[in-house]
């Protein structure tokens, strides 16, 4: 029993387990089995880069877990033309964590950085917002698991304020102003990609602001920054791009709302 409670003490263990479950769901239910070679490239790239920096900076071994989470995030969100791009995605993502730092924190969410870098630089990668389908079961499963993990690290507020504000914006525009029926709106919010993004990526304790008040404002503004391009420019992967920009202003929030930095253990 003691070992189980120990296992759950580190939120990263649960995160790895749940993200792994989603990947398994994708592989067996959503026909992703053909991408297994890509996944192995992502894991190799990320873990090798992390191992390199562990050696260089004499970091604790348990930081490999973060690399696992980043790899899983990349596997779940990023699609590429050739599996070998996975190697680059994994290494860039983890590399950004050690190279792009400000005041002792890495600036970008590593998986987010990997995705943005690959999509922008290679022209061989893309995000498939529709890949999860809109099954309600998926929605609840991902949402609840996301909640569980973020509650453990106390960053649920950023995810929740993001979803709440985005919902309010969409409700206002599509239902109240344009007059679409409610199921039009619910369809948007039953997207697995959106929920996965909200509860796994933006709640990353290392790249969201340290203070709660700051996180709520940060999440809310991120929602507006995601809403506008998707509503007016038909950029349906907007949250990923918005987060990339918003990571840059996290240090500003940390300066305005002073709070100690998050520690995994």
């Amino acid at each position: 029993m003691a070992s189980i409670s120990r296992f759950f003490k580190d939120a990263r263990n649960i995160q790895i387990l749940w993200l792994g479950t989603f990947l398994a769901y994708g592989i067996f239910e959503l026909q992703w089995a053909a991408n297994l070679d890509y996944y192995s490239f992502v894991f190799s790239g990320a873990l090798a880069t992390q191992a390199f920096f562990i050696h260089q900076k004499s970091l604790p071994l348990h930081s490999l877990k973060s690399a696992l989470i980043t790899s899983l995030g990349l596997c779940l969100l990023l699609k590429v033309n050739h599996p070998a791009w996975g190697l680059l995605a994994g290494s860039i993502a983890i590399g950004s964590k050690f190279v792009l730092r400000f005041q002792g924190k890495h600036i970008f969410n590593p998986a987010n950085f990997g995705i943005v870098a690959l999509v922008l630089l290679t022209n061989q990668a893309w995000i498939s917002p529709g890949q999860w389908g809109n099954e309600v079961v998926t929605f609840f499963l991902i949402a609840s698991c996301g909640m569980l993990i973020t509650l453990k690290v106390g960053r649920w507020d950023a995810g929740l304020s993001f979803v709440a504000v985005l919902f309010a914006c969409e409700l206002g525009r599509t239902v109240l102003y344009q007059g679409w029926p409610m199921d039009h709106l619910l369809h948007t919010f039953s997207s697995g990609t959106l929920v996965l993004f909200a509860f796994f990526m933006i709640t990353d304790p290392m790249t969201s602001p340290n203070a709660r008040k700051a996180r709520v404002i940060w999440g809310a503004s991120l929602a507006i920054a995601s809403f506008a391009p998707s509503a007016y420019l038909q950029l349906y992967t907007a949250p990923v791009w918005a987060l990339f920009g918003w990571c840059l202003i996290t240090p500003l929030f940390d300066k305005l709302f002073v709070q100690p930095k998050f520690q995994w253990i």
């Binding site: 003691a2 070992s3 120990r6 296992f7 003490k9 580190d10 990263r12 263990n13 790895i16 387990l17 792994g20 398994a24 592989i27 067996f28 959503l30 026909q31 089995a33 071994l61 348990h62 490999l64 877990k65 696992l68 699609k79 033309n81 022209n123 061989q124 990668a125 893309w126 498939s128 917002p129 529709g130 890949q131 999860w132 389908g133 809109n134 099954e135 599509t174 102003y177 344009q178 007059g179 679409w180 029926p181 199921d183 039009h184 619910l186 369809h187 948007t188 997207s191 420019l233 038909q234 349906y236 253990i265």
Partner: protein, 492 residues
């Protein structure tokens, strides 16, 4: 192995009826509405979209009318009619296909291979009808008015839905009840309404019996198909086939899941004469399995000039420059007189079955750099005939029996067909095998113990075992890296 191909080009039986994808066909009082299936060609290059709508209206052309929401007021040069044959050309080229192979008799010399091409001929009819008028009081503005080919075209903008509805009704457009709820959202979304009717005189002069497809071109960040307006009622399903052309790669749906159809499966020989029905059943099964919400990928191919293989195997000659210019692809450079071209091109064929209950939003698309080829292909293998009395014959018969059992299972798995009626599919080969065994036993007078043969093909279970192994390893690593695990290690 010598092979011989046979292609049975499938086209959806339901596609023979009249259609409208994003518009609705409207009849003047009493006329029958057809609204079951349709085809559309999308060409996307940056912000520019070219949409070609098939016109399968069947009935009196005077009864035809179509309303399509468009993002901008179209100019006259942005609208044209194209040859009706283009849809059939694309359909023939990209449709789910059946390939046929003939085994060689291991006990007999090789017979010359033969290449056979067979196409089912598809009949697609066409037509339309019309109206007139303008009522500024209703808040409806006629932005433009053109006569193109056999069509009279109006482009309307409206201030509010009730005015537009009244105007349409006044001009004899009856709007499906389910479509009314989206008029307001479309107006608020700043969409214009592209309204089409047939100019009877021009139609007579054109010499075309059927109505030709209409093609529109516009610049907008919106890359979507407004299917909501064509939804006549909550339960009525409509099938839509989209042929999409881009420079970079596949087109996929961003707000519904794009799913690949099952492909490269070996199916029983009796599927051949009923391939159309078989594929409809396969599609039905997939459609239900995806909870009626999938967008299905049926074909994806890199048609760039640099690609030596434009299709493999090719059910029709590759698409040539003249076909592509009909679709609205305008970035290719024609080369030599053989229909060749230079430039990049990728085709995607998607099949959607939508209804009001399961498709609350219009279809939104994105262009991806994904250049992976895909074709929806089923395979039939005909066993060899003749005498199998040689040694290799036994091995061959065993293979055929196993294969035919699997083929039967596939038919049941893919299309839900009842295979109990096809008991005779395997039996004759089992019988031959028995006879062969009996004769070889008497010859050898001894039976060697044989290891049980493994089923052919990679066992699917193995993948699961690997994954489970992977997950266990991952948990193991996480455990070892945790403080508790380390403490345990130190202790030991």
């Amino acid at each position: 192995m010598k092979t011989k191909f046979f292609f049975s080009l499938f086209f959806l039986a339901i596609a023979v009826n009249a259609s409208s994808f994003c518009g609705f066909f409207v009849a003047k009082a009493g006329a029958k509405l057809y609204n079951k299936s349709s085809q559309v060609i999308l060409v996307r290059d940056g912000e520019q979209t070219v949409v070609t709508m098939s016109n399968d209206f069947q009935g009196d052309v005077r009864d035809f009318a179509m309303v399509v929401p468009v993002p901008v007021v179209l100019k006259e040069q942005d609208i044209r009619v194209v040859e009706p044959g283009i849809f059939k050309r694309l359909d023939d080229h990209t449709a789910p296909r059946l390939a046929e192979y003939y085994d060689e008799n291991p006990c007999m010399p090789v017979v010359a291979a033969e290449y056979l091409l067979n196409k089912e001929v598809m009949q697609r009819a066409v037509p339309m009808s019309v109206m007139e008028d303008a009522a500024v009081d209703l808040g409806v503005t006629i932005e433009a008015q053109y006569q193109i080919g056999e069509y009279d075209i109006l482009i309307l903008s409206a201030k509010e839905s009730s005015g537009l509805k009244t105007w349409l009704n006044k001009n004899n457009y009856s709007i499906p009840a389910q479509a009314e709820e989206v008029l307001d959202p479309y107006i608020k979304n700043d969409l214009k309404f592209f309204v089409v009717k047939v100019n009877l005189e021009e139609q007579k002069n054109s010499g075309f019996e059927e109505l030709r497809p209409i093609q529109i071109r516009y610049n907008s960040s919106k890359f979507m198909l407004p299917i909501r307006l064509g939804m006549a009622n909550a339960k009525e399903m409509q099938d839509l086939t989209v042929y999409a052309f881009t420079k970079t790669g596949r087109v996929e749906c961003t707000n519904y899941r794009t799913v690949k159809m099952p492909t490269d499966r070996e199916v029983a020989e009796f599927v051949e004469p009923n391939f159309s029905k078989f594929y409809v059943d396969v599609f039905n099964k997939q459609y239900n399995y995806q909870q009626k919400r999938g967008v299905f990928l049926e074909y994806a191919w890199d048609l760039s000039a640099s690609q030596p293989v434009k299709c493999d195997p090719c059910p029709t000659p590759p698409l040539a420059m003249m076909d592509l210019s009909q679709t609205g692809v305008d970035w290719l450079q024609g080369q030599n007189g053989w229909g060749g071209y230079s430039g990049n091109l990728f085709i995607t064929r998607l099949h959607v079955r939508y209804d009001r209950a399961n498709f609350p939003q219009d279809l939104r698309f994105q262009v991806t750099p994904n250049r992976e080829k895909f074709q929806c292909r089923y395979v039939i293998r005909h066993p060899a005939t003749g005498d199998f009395s040689c040694e290799a014959g036994e091995e061959y018969l065993e293979k055929v029996v196993d294969r035919r059992k699997k083929e039967l299972e596939e038919v049941a798995i893919l299309a839900n067909w009842d295979i109990s009626a096809y008991g005779n599919y395997v039996k004759p080969y089992e019988k031959q095998l028995k006879l062969h065994n009996a004769s070889s036993e008497t010859e050898k007078n001894e039976v060697l113990p044989i290891l049980p043969a493994l089923p052919p093909g990679p066992p699917a279970m193995l993948n699961y075992v690997f994954l489970l192994f992977g997950l266990v390893c991952l948990s193991g690593i996480s455990f070892l890296l945790s403080d508790f695990g380390k403490a345990q290690l130190r202790k030991s």
